[in-house]
């Protein structure tokens, strides 16, 4: 083990990149800053691969003592914990992160803040690695907040609009409007995340109160034998769920995630699809030893996930922004993962996390290539027929759509199937929701595909194929999205559950008890849902009725959740603020009146404040003389 690169290298390398690019941006003219950042993440990926290949028992490497008395018999230290789960997450983050960095060099090539963009991306990767490698909840929270910060910075990356310097007044006005909505989206994400963070912190406090330690390995050993109130564990798990819900954009804190698409597309791919938003899933999987003891909280997790999956799918049906469709799809897929981990099917959830990271990053990057090709056009109604102009991007998009729709041999099929099987085993309503969502998913992704790639071109610009640097990540991700499913072929298909076995070394698995025949049936249902969804989209496409999806305005406004929050939370807040403002002004006026009345007699005393030092000194002398005189008189009196 001695010859292995240390774990702290993983977050340190991108952090170094961030520091250098942030402090000395002038040293990196042109695109060199982007290459440096990409190199740093690539180096971290190599470290992650080496550690993965040489993985034995979980490795625990502590760096230095941090919080005194926060662990059972010692001080809580800053340390990293590498087991199968965190190794997998580190691989996803550095691997997908590397590809997206590479993609960004081309995608952000013309941006004036190119170097800063890569500094932020590197910062994000470093914080995300701290999050997944942390050996304790407080350290995880550091990464948790760090990725939130990076997310805020990157959503609001175009905080003054993309064309704030444009000569054309009209373009500049549009850019200013965009600037406001971008900044608001960033703030919204930040504030929504704060709600979740409060839950995370309350969860940590409660865990410390219950078990007296926040170190994850210690806690895992401790929970088995500890005698604590069942309600305490349930409550701690619910608090952690609030944290996970905030970070992963689940109901009811989901509204920030679609708005987060205001950021550059690589950011949407990396942060708001592949890695950061899955932190909530990771948190639940990491705390599996707690959720195993808290059946009620786990049910909550599952239902939050199920409902969010449904919500996301319904909202995605009639969106017209190429990225918004994918964003709601992300919400929906994250719901699937929550559904899985809530049902204690951690392996299925994490497996879906893995495949989703591939195919959703792929779809986002393809969408980015399309947006680029059409000169920042994001409205799918103004696209169409692009497969003629961009054959390569079209091909990889097909792979992504098939993967997310759950068509056999593509990765989404295996992971979604595992989740649905787990759902069927434990809760029929959740299974039906999952199946329905699978159908809806296939439909809206079909709609996305046909609107963008098929039919006649409805736009004005001249689309062009992406450049080579863009094609490399797209190709790699397409291959992964296609093949990753074979990591975990279920037994009834002749596979060996390789992935389940691997994760099973970190998280104990729940044995499958479903008969093979039932399992075949479930698989057929799932595939049928995907095929029917795609077929439905195809038929609608033939009728030319795709531009407006089903559910009309209800879906377009994402079930009016934003409006609901506006009316239920924001409007009363504004009313209260207005009322308080009136009260405040009234109070001010009253106080001013009192002050004005008092200033009359007060003016007399200003005569005393003449500014002459001697006048003050005389006052002092008289006071001193009075006190000492009184003392003297008293002494005489008592002496006599």
């Amino acid at each position: 083990m001695d010859s292995l690169p240390a774990l702290y290298l993983l977050p340190l390398l991108p952090l170094l990149g961030f520091a250098v690019l942030m402090v000395l941006p002038r040293l990196f003219p042109g695109k060199t800053g982007g290459w440096l950042a990409t190199g740093m993440v690539g180096a971290a990926f190599i470290v992650a691969v080496i550690r993965y290949l040489n993985q034995g028992a979980p490795a625990h490497e502590t760096l230095w003592a941090w919080l005194p008395n926060m662990a059972l018999n010692a001080n809580l230290s800053v340390g990293f914990w590498l087991d199968q789960l965190s190794a997998l997450m580190a691989l996803i983050i550095t691997g997908v992160g590397f590809l997206i960095h590479l993609y960004s060099i081309s995608y952000m090539g013309h941006d004036p803040k190119f170097t800063r963009f890569f500094a932020f991306l590197n910062f994000f990767v470093a914080m995300m690695l701290i999050l997944v490698l942390a050996d304790s909840y407080p350290l995880m929270f550091v990464g948790w907040e760090g990725v939130g910060m990076a997310s805020y910075l990157l959503i609001g990356f175009w905080f003054n609009g993309r064309n704030s310097e444009a000569g054309d007044a009209q373009v500049r006005a549009a850019s200013d409007a965009e600037a406001i909505s971008n900044s608001n989206a960033a703030r919204k994400a930040f504030i929504m995340n704060r709600i979740g963070d409060l839950g995370f912190m309350l969860g940590m406090f409660l865990l410390f109160k219950l078990y007296g330690t926040l170190s994850i390995p210690e806690l895992a050993e401790r929970v088995e034998g500890a005698q604590v109130a069942q309600a305490g564990i349930e409550l701690a798990c619910l608090f952690l769920l609030v944290g996970a819900v905030g970070k992963s954009g689940q109901l009811p804190l989901t509204t920030w995630l679609p708005d987060a698409m205001a950021g550059p597309t690589p950011v949407s791919a990396l942060i708001h699809a592949a890695t950061m938003v899955t932190a909530g899933v990771y948190l639940v999987a990491r705390s599996h030893f707690l959720y195993d003891l808290a059946p009620n909280a786990s049910t909550w997790v599952a239902w939050v996930g199920g409902l969010t999956a449904l919500y996301g799918a319904l909202s995605a049906l009639n969106q017209s922004d190429i990225k918004k469709i994918l964003a709601y799809s992300t919400v929906s897929q994250l719901g699937y993962m929550f559904l899985a981990v809530g049902l204690h099917a951690y392996s299925a959830g994490v497996f879906h996390l893995l495949t989703h990271a591939f195919f959703k990053a792929l779809l986002f990057l393809a969408a980015g290539a399309v947006i680029h090709a059409l000169h920042e056009e994001q409205d799918v109604r103004k696209m169409g027929g692009l497969h003629r102009f961009m054959p390569f991007t079209h091909l990889v998009s097909v792979a992504g759509v098939l993967a997310i729709a759950g068509i056999p041999i593509w990765s989404g099929f295996f992971s979604k199937d595992a989740i649905l099987a787990a759902a069927y085993e434990q809760s029929l309503p959740l299974y039906l929701i999952g199946l329905g969502v699978a159908l809806l998913t296939a439909f809206y992704m079909g709609r996305w595909y046909f609107l963008v790639w098929r039919g006649a071109y409805r736009g004005h610009g001249h689309p062009h194929e992406a450049d080579t640097l863009t094609k490399i990540p797209l190709g790699v991700l397409a291959a992964l999205a296609t093949l990753a499913g074979f990591l975990n072929i279920p037994t009834f298909l002749g596979g060996k559950h390789a992935f389940d076995d691997y994760i099973g070394r970190a998280i104990p698995l729940h044995a499958h008890e479903i008969p093979v025949a039932t399992e075949w049936l479930l698989t057929v249902f799932a595939v049928l849902a995907g095929v029917i969804g795609l077929g439905w989209a195809f038929l609608a496409h033939r009728r030319g009725a795709l531009a407006t999806g089903p559910l009309g305005e209800l879906s377009r406004n994402s079930l009016y959740l934003d409006a609901l929050y506006d009316n239920v939370v924001s409007a009363p807040s504004r009313a209260i603020a207005g009322a308080l403002d009136t009260v405040d002004r009234g109070t001010d006026d009253a106080l001013n009146g009192v002050a004005r009345n008092a200033s009359g007699p007060g003016g007399l005393f200003t005569l005393w404040q003449s500014g002459f030092v001697r006048a003050y000194a005389v006052s002092m002398l008289l006071g001193t003389a009075a006190i000492i005189g009184y003392w003297a008189l008293k002494t005489i009196g008592s002496g006599a």
């Binding site: 006048a615 005389v618 008189l633």
Partner: protein, 211 residues
């Protein structure tokens, strides 16, 4: 002994009155010198011979010379003659001061010696340099060193205070002052030697004022 006390005490009070009442600042400081010398004598009657010597050398000597020097330097030996802007300050100060003095005297006579005076005087061993040195360098070593640092700081501070600031913006004649926001090119045209020359003229002006 009593005679010496009465004589010295009366002289000290007379000196004090001269100090606060003399119109001419030089007379006032000479009155203070008298008081200081009388206090030195009183120290001697109190078995504090070393302090008496120090009082004469440091106070009546060095400090007062410094005062006289500054009075002469600033030509400030004439009293301010305008009307006093602070109303009734003399009266109030007189009343307050008298009250204070009376109270002090009353309190002084209630003081009771903690031990026979002769015994205390014996214990002081004449207040010689030996006794003082012993106390200063053993019990009060830290305050002693601290005071030495304080003196150093005072020297540096005094030098820094009277040092003429290198460039005083409001002292520069307007025609030589750079216009605010002038373009970089024009600014460079001001010759480099301008600033020292300015300072010299200023020095000459000050000299005139002082004379």
């Amino acid at each position: 002994m009593m005679l010496a006390f009465i004589l010295l005490g009366a002289l000290a009070i007379v000196g004090g009155v001269i100090t606060i009442a003399a119109k001419n600042a030089v007379h006032a400081s000479l009155g203070l010198v008298g008081t200081l010398l009388c206090v030195a004598g009183l120290f001697a009657t109190l078995n504090a011979s070393f302090l008496a010597a120090t009082q004469v050398i440091v106070y009546a000597g060095a400090v007062m010379v410094l005062f006289l020097f500054v009075i002469m330097l600033l030509n400030a030996n004439q009293p301010v003659t305008e009307r006093d802007p602070v109303p009734y300050v003399r009266e109030l100060a007189g009343i307050g001061g008298t009250l204070l003095a009376g109270a002090f005297v009353v309190l002084a006579f209630t003081f009771k010696d903690p031990r026979p005076l002769a015994e205390g005087a014996e214990a002081l061993r004449g207040g010689s340099a030996l006794v003082m040195g012993e106390t200063l360098l053993t019990r009060f070593l830290l305050p002693f060193e601290a005071v030495s640092i304080l003196l150093l700081v005072a020297i540096v501070g005094a030098v820094a205070l009277v040092q003429r600031p290198a460039a005083q913006p409001d002292g520069v004649p307007d025609e030589l002052e750079e216009p605010v926001g002038a373009p970089q090119e024009e600014r460079r045209q001001v010759p480099r030697g301008a600033a020292p020359a300015l300072m010299q003229t200023r020095g000459a002006q000050d000299g005139e004022v002082r004379a």
